[in-house]
Symmetry: C2
Subunit: 392 residues, 2 copies
């Protein structure tokens, strides 16, 4: 008998993180497992004023259907901000508003990927992208991340041996590793992709959250037409709105917009109007600075505690921004085993293997610091250190 | 050279309605072309109060990430309402919140359709569904609509000759035709689908908007496990929120939820909380009654004007609810030609052929009455009558 479900559904890895988050739904547990922004910095008052204002001034319009592309002034704001921050010249016609970056990934998969198409992904790679693209049944090629970004030699080999349509990467404070690409690596990546006619899908949800060092230009600066750039309000304003965007050349936009229309007509228009009003009436840079200061302190607390308490065989990344860092245990340890021991000690994290498309990563794990208070960070890392020492 | 885009993108009909709406973006034109609810009935004050309340009482939570399934109390509300309105017993665990019904269609296509799978669709059929499903490259089988619903003989033949996985239909006040299935037809459809193990995708965005006659039970009543029921707040509260839902058995839900997570993690949580608060604090039935009264009057104005001014060779459906009615011109006329003439007379509609998957329908057209004031309806129909007579 035929199967009720489509073949593509069988290929999808069940969200491991989702399962883990269920296990640790206990307020006593110190959880480094989530990926949530710190709600302390949600601009509740600003959003309340913005919502009231748009409803008072333009109520019937803000509640009506709207265009698939998204609210034009919001797209103009996004384009302006790219210019102000990086000198990137982007036209609002090249911007599509999506339901968070996640929908951007789905629309890209839908518009570009035939079954078996080659997709390059970082190792470890962002789980949401792996999940999204998997629905379109591509062939993943994973390339290790080094301290300053993707392994260029391995990228060269992969491009030489395979026809790769897309390369999905997170050059700033990557999820899960916290690693950023150096400017040199960005230029090298851009040149290699230019030569092989591969599109770079540059996911940048954390780019505004740098608390150490200077901003590094987006790869879009070096690979103009062949970069699809994704952004999001989730980490700088609030995630509940599910508002993100895709920047792409008009030729690509024409096709992606048809996919967006078929997917849900358009993103929540009320939310677009509220966010835009909020951005108009508030100093977003000041707001982002507050978030960066806090995350910087939380990250420092975590790195310091790791250095103090973890055994020397354990290494960690030292992110300059974002929300995550990455731990590599000695080869003989399994982070899944450590996870089970850790839960009993009331501390949780995400084991690393789901971030690998071809097995591997068994001795790695991801820690989130943005949503854990500083004093709890030290306590949690101390417990985790005890568990790791016991496992060794 | 390989194509940049996926093969599935080539199959998608460009949205004809979208193109038409661009042509008629002139406030002087009386447009029966759109599909918009009347914004006069958007509960602006109620939404404003609800937004303010949820932000005041639970600000940080309503702005945070949330669950893929959707806000549980909202899903309980929807389940309760099915029970109160139709005695349908649905558990909240069988309900997934989506970005309008449109996203429901996309998720269903994604979860169930392999390339070439048989999908039955009404003729004329809802354009958004044709577009959504087309991305998954099914084989459409279209079955004519009669005055009381689908042509049962033709459905029998189609099911006998083809393996059909899904049947997509809109039994209440269908878009584009305004036709409703009689109770007898619903039972017959359910029985035939039960026998052939075909899933009925019952799209019901207009079901609450009946202004003539009595409600007829949903097909879900007669085909329990094998019906996927879609609903939406767009027509009874406000479309900008993009909030709808899918009702389906748990086995199906388990798969569809993975597709939803990959598509955008979850629907706008702030909007879910606002709508739920609005529903708690207001009498939604009273609100819907106001909409129904107005649409009933608008529909009456349109049907009366058609009877008065259109030549007798032209027939129209007489919907008992919803937002649309359907015109059949004499065979020799092309509604596309009539459209071009009509635009010059400052009146617009949607030609019927895009609602047919296999050509056809050249002499048909759709009229919307919900978003046109009563006095303009008579004026517009009069102009249209003049054009049709000239074309004859």
């Amino acid at each position: 008998m035929r199967s009720l479900f489509a073949k593509r559904v069988d290929d999808i890895p069940k969200s491991f993180i989702r399962e883990i988050l269920k296990v640790i739904d206990d307020p006593e547990i110190i959880s480094f497992a989530g990926g949530l922004p710190n709600p302390e910095f949600f601009p509740v008052e600003g959003i309340k004023e913005a919502a009231s204002k748009v409803l008072t001034e333009d109520g019937t319009n803000v509640l009506q259907y709207s265009t698939t592309e998204g609210y034009l002034p919001l797209r103009e704001y996004i384009a302006d901000r790219y210019f102000k921050r990086q000198g990137l010249k982007i036209s609002p016609e090249e911007i599509l508003i999506t339901n968070g970056s996640q929908q951007g990934l789905d629309l890209i998969g839908k518009t570009f990927l035939n079954e078996g198409d080659g997709v390059i992904i970082e190792e470890p790679g962002y789980l949401g992208a792996i999940q999204s693209f998997s629905f379109y049944r591509p062939k993943f090629h994973s390339i290790p991340l080094l301290d300053d970004g993707i392994d260029i030699e391995s990228l060269k080999d992969t491009l030489a041996e395979n026809d790769c349509k897309l390369f999905y990467g997170v050059p700033n404070f990557q999820n899960p590793s916290g690693i950023s690409y150096s400017d040199k690596k960005r230029r090298e990546v851009a040149q290699l992709l230019e030569e092989s006619n591969t599109v770079f899908v540059e996911d940048d949800p954390y780019g505004e959250l740098r608390f150490i060092g200077e901003d590094i230009p987006s790869i879009k600066n070096y690979l103009k037409d062949n970069t699809i750039l994704l952004g999001s309000f989730s980490k700088i304003v609030a995630p509940a709105f599910r508002l993100g965007w895709i920047v792409m050349s008009k030729e690509k936009m024409e096709k992606v917009i048809v996919a967006k229309q078929a997917a849900d007509l358009h993103s929540n228009y009320f939310a677009q109007r509220v966010i835009y009003q909020y951005l108009l009436d508030n100093d977003i840079d000041q707001h982002i600075n507050k978030i960066k200061e806090a995350y910087g302190r939380q990250r420092e607390a975590m790195v310091n505690s790791i250095k103090e308490y973890f055994p020397p065989e354990v290494s960690c990344t030292e992110p300059e921004g974002g929300m995550f860092l990455w731990i590599t245990l000695p080869k003989e340890l399994s982070s899944l085993d450590v996870f089970e021991m850790a839960i009993k000690e009331q501390v949780a994290f995400v084991p690393g293997s789901p971030f690998y498309v071809n097995q591997g990563g068994k001795n790695t794990l991801r820690l989130n610091y943005s949503n854990v208070a500083e004093d709890k960070i030290e306590k949690g890392i101390k417990s985790l250190a005890k568990v790791i020492k016991r496992a060794l």
